[in-house]
């Protein structure tokens, strides 16, 4: 007899019963949708974006309770607050640095308010021009016909130099009435000599024949430019000598004194009744306000640093105490400060460059407004969410606050680099105070020299100007001697105190010609220059961002400065020229232009308009290049914010209008061109070529 354990029957029954159960259940599930819905998963019916009804498995998530939500949101907030704080600190540093530069620029401006300094500058310019002319006349390549003019040119140079030195002396010391009179007499002498030289060159032109005639004509043009300048200078100085402000007592240099406010007060008293001084007096007011705000002049305050321009910057302790919403507001506020300081810096720079009163420059300068991010005050202040939805909203607000802060910090950094010429993210401790001021002053001098060389006026077609040394000097001033090019990979730093390859026995030719047909057929498009490349020869810049048209200034070319000259922002939108038909200002945006053609034609070209083109050029190492800019009609070219070429006058497009030999930084170099169109068509072209190729 089988025991209970050996019998297989119960097992079989059990199998059968469970099989039946499972089978019946599966069958019911298969046949009955409702049961499926309620047993395995909940299926919900939703309407998707296209308006169709879709069935979807509903996934139940456990709803966290209020405590948990709060806990999560607190953690999240703490994390994001740290990031916001970091950005706020970065921005604070940037603002401080920007304002230091602005302050230095303004101080330079005040120095210039000593009118004798301006006179000295213009006298220097005349001396320099006469020296250039003398060198050209003494050159062996100069035509024979100009030989008799040499003694006159020599004496002009000598007198101009003496005059410049004398004025320089006056600018530094006490000026009496007789001194002023003496200066006028000397200026008159310069004009007489310049006149004489011009006359004799005119005679020489009559005598010269053939090719020489053209060369003499060029020299004559230069000489008459010089005469014009000398006359202008004479007019200024004689008017100035009669005015009371010409007579000044010796002014102590501000940096030599312990307390900067004292000599400025003296100056103020001295010049209160002087028209030129009005802008300056207002400056002092600003300064005094700033000082009143900051009892500690070094700005090292425990709770809140005072920036050089008198803005109160939050200290670390203040930042710690702020709530997230307030922190975000603080970042937004600082972004506004960056804009203000940047505009002020640009105004000071413009006032310096164009010798304008600061007030006027402030009115003229373009004030860019950076985006201050979305308004998140409400969303951020609700930092006590009680359910999932509220938490999600709060979290999104935190995320966008951090993103916006990052964007603002980056914009601030870019503004700083636009102002100082340093590359963004460069961490070297820049010079401060007096050193910075001196560097800025030196930079503006170099830039003034460069714009003299850049101008194509009075220089014949195909003239070659060498700007390498000046550019090297400028880069060195910007980067304190040791920096790598902007945006360049680390580890490839290059000392910018550039040891030039300009061998004296192998000078650049004074002029060159281009075979237009040959270049048109052979030039290759590109923006990356490589010395080792097998393809040598002319490269034309083929890719540009172009914006325009603006109304062309009527009086003087390049006179009105439009926003791109202050700051290139490819996302910006501006109001341009008034449309002839709709009578409304056109909306301008940067547009991408890439062409196979050397001559670039701005989209929507109209007559009597101004366009800008922006691009970048890359080179691996510091490269000497010769640039040929051609335009119909006028063009001005900046490379790395330095004026390199300027051609005014309604000229037609000619490939070899003028050559400039320049120095490119390793890495990315910015190229900005301003194109002015008179009547009819408008083109421009920028060609580049390693200098060696020009010689061959």
């Amino acid at each position: 007899m089988a025991s209970n354990l050996t019998s297989h029957k119960p097992l079989l029954f059990a199998f059968l019963i469970s099989f039946l159960f499972v089978g019946a259940f599966s069958l019911t599930l298969l046949l009955n949708e409702d049961l499926r819905r309620y047993t395995i998963a909940q299926i919900e019916e939703i309407t998707d974006e296209k308006g169709e009804k879709v069935k979807r498995v509903k996934i139940e998530k456990p709803e966290p309770n209020e405590e948990q939500v709060r806990e999560i949101s607190r953690n999240q907030e703490r994390k994001k607050r740290e990031e916001l704080k970091k950005k706020a600190r970065e921005m604070r540093e940037t603002i401080y640095e920007i304002e230091e530069v602005v302050e230095a620029q303004k101080k330079n401006l005040k120095k210039k308010d000593n009118p004798w300094e301006n006179m000295a500058d213009s006298a220097d310019e005349i001396a320099e021009l006469s020296e250039q002319l003398q060198n050209k006349l003494a050159d062996e390549a100069a035509p024979e016909a100009v030989e008799p003019t040499q003694p006159k040119s020599e004496s002009l140079q000598e007198i101009a130099e003496n005059y410049a030195e004398f004025i320089e002396e006056l600018a530094k010391s006490t000026v009496t009435g007789s001194d002023a009179q003496k200066a006028v007499t000397q200026a008159e002498e310069v004009v007489t000599k310049a006149d004489q030289l011009e006359d004799s060159l005119r005679d020489a032109e009559l005598m010269a024949q053939g090719e020489d005639k053209e060369k003499v004509a060029d020299l004559l043009q230069e000489s008459s430019d010089l005469t014009k300048r000398a006359r202008e200078n004479l007019r200024q100085i004689s008017a100035f000598a009669k005015s009371p402000q010409a007579l000044q007592t010796k002014v102590e240099e501000p940096e030599k004194t312990a307390d900067p406010s004292v000599p400025e007060m003296d100056l103020e008293k001295l010049k209160l009744d002087d028209k030129l001084g009005t802008a300056m007096v207002e400056d002092f007011d600003i300064e005094q306000e700033g000082n009143a705000d900051s009892p500690d002049l070094n700005g090292e305050l425990a709770d809140g640093e005072i920036s050089p321009l008198g803005n109160e910057l939050p200290s670390d302790a203040t930042l710690d105490a702020l709530s997230t919403a307030e922190l975000y507001e603080q970042v937004q506020e600082m972004s506004g400060m960056v804009d203000e300081a940047f505009a002020e810096g640009q105004a000071a720079e413009m006032a310096n460059r164009k010798s304008l009163p600061l007030e006027q420059a402030r009115e003229q300068v373009f004030k860019p407004e950076s985006s201050q991010g979305p308004d998140l005050q409400n969303a951020l202040s609700q930092n006590q969410p009680s359910n999932r939805e509220e938490f999600q909203e709060f979290n999104e607000a935190l995320d966008s606050a951090v993103n916006a802060a990052q964007q603002m910090a980056r914009t601030a950094e870019n503004r700083k680099s636009a102002l100082t010429g340093e590359s963004p993210g460069q961490q070297n401790q820049g010079p401060s105070g007096e050193a910075l001021q001196a560097a800025l002053q030196q930079r503006s001098q170099v830039q003034a020299k460069m714009s003299l060389l850049a101008s194509n006026q009075g220089k014949g077609a195909g003239n070659v100007q060498d700007m390498r040394a000046l550019m090297a000097e400028n880069y060195a001033l910007q980067g304190s001697g040791q920096q790598s090019g902007e945006g360049f990979r680390q580890g490839q730093a290059l000392s910018m105190t550039y040891d030039t390859e300009m061998a004296p026995e192998n000078p650049l030719p004074s002029s060159a010609r281009l075979d237009t047909k040959k270049v048109l057929s052979q030039a290759v498009p590109g923006r990356r220059l490589d010395i080792r490349s097998k393809r040598q020869g002319w490269i034309f810049l083929d890719t540009w961002y172009v914006i325009g048209p603006w109304q062309r200034p009527q009086k003087k070319s390049f006179d009105t400065e439009f926003p791109p000259e202050t700051l290139v922002d490819l996302d910006a939108e501006y109001k341009g020229k008034v449309n002839r038909y709709t009578k409304q200002e056109m909306d301008l945006k940067w547009r991408f232009v890439q062409t196979e053609n050397i001559r670039i034609n701005p989209p929507d070209e109209i007559s009597d308009a101004v366009y800008y083109g922006y691009t970048e050029v890359f080179c691996e190492a510091a490269t000497e290049v010769t640039v040929a800019v051609a335009s119909d009609d006028m063009a001005k070219l900046w490379i790395n914010d330095l004026v390199v070429f300027e051609d005014s006058g309604l000229s037609s497009w000619r490939m070899d209008e003028g050559f400039r030999t320049i120095l490119l930084k390793p890495g990315y170099n910015t190229v900005l061109i301003r194109l002015e169109n008179g009547p009819a068509v408008c083109y421009f072209s920028v060609l580049m070529c390693p200098t060696e190729a020009l010689r061959n």
């Binding site: 025991s3 050996t6 490819l570």
Partner: protein
């Protein structure tokens, strides 16, 4: 009469080891066959062009997604951005990781000029590891 082997074994029990084996096998099966979809930073409203020649590339966390939609709006990692900001970002990428993979998602009707503009910006910044994403029935 055969000896009943169960007679002496009064406390019979199920062995757990095969059960655990089975459970592990199942677990491994699901682990291997489950595909988790990565966050591709996609832009929802893009209608990718269809291509039969496209290849499947394994997803990569470091890939940078740039998308351009039919209205020529540019997206970076799924977030709307502007050309100026994109160029800024590319500058930073070039400095930190010039070999980074870049995926370009475009709509069927993206304006071609915008595609050229973005490609040119990438090429000028020496970012050459660029792929274009298309739709392939087999993979998507």
């Amino acid at each position: 009469m055969p000896r009943n082997i169960y007679d002496e074994d009064n406390d019979a029990s199920l062995s757990m080891s095969p059960l655990i084996d089975c459970v592990f096998l199942l677990l491994i099966f699901f682990l291997v066959t489950t595909m988790l979809k990565k966050d591709l930073h996609e832009v929802d409203h893009l209608n990718l062009p269809i291509s039969r020649s496209s290849l499947e590339v394994p997803p990569d966390d470091t890939v940078l997604a740039i998308a351009i939609d039919a209205d020529a709006v540019v997206y970076l990692e799924g977030e709307e951005t502007s050309i100026g900001a994109l160029i800024e970002e590319l500058k930073i990428i070039e400095q930190n990781d010039p070999e980074r993979r870049i995926r370009l998602d475009t709509d069927e009707s993206t304006p071609f000029y915008r595609l050229v503009e973005v490609l040119d910006a990438l090429s000028f910044r020496n970012l050459r590891n660029v792929g274009v994403r298309t739709y392939h029935e087999k993979y998507d």
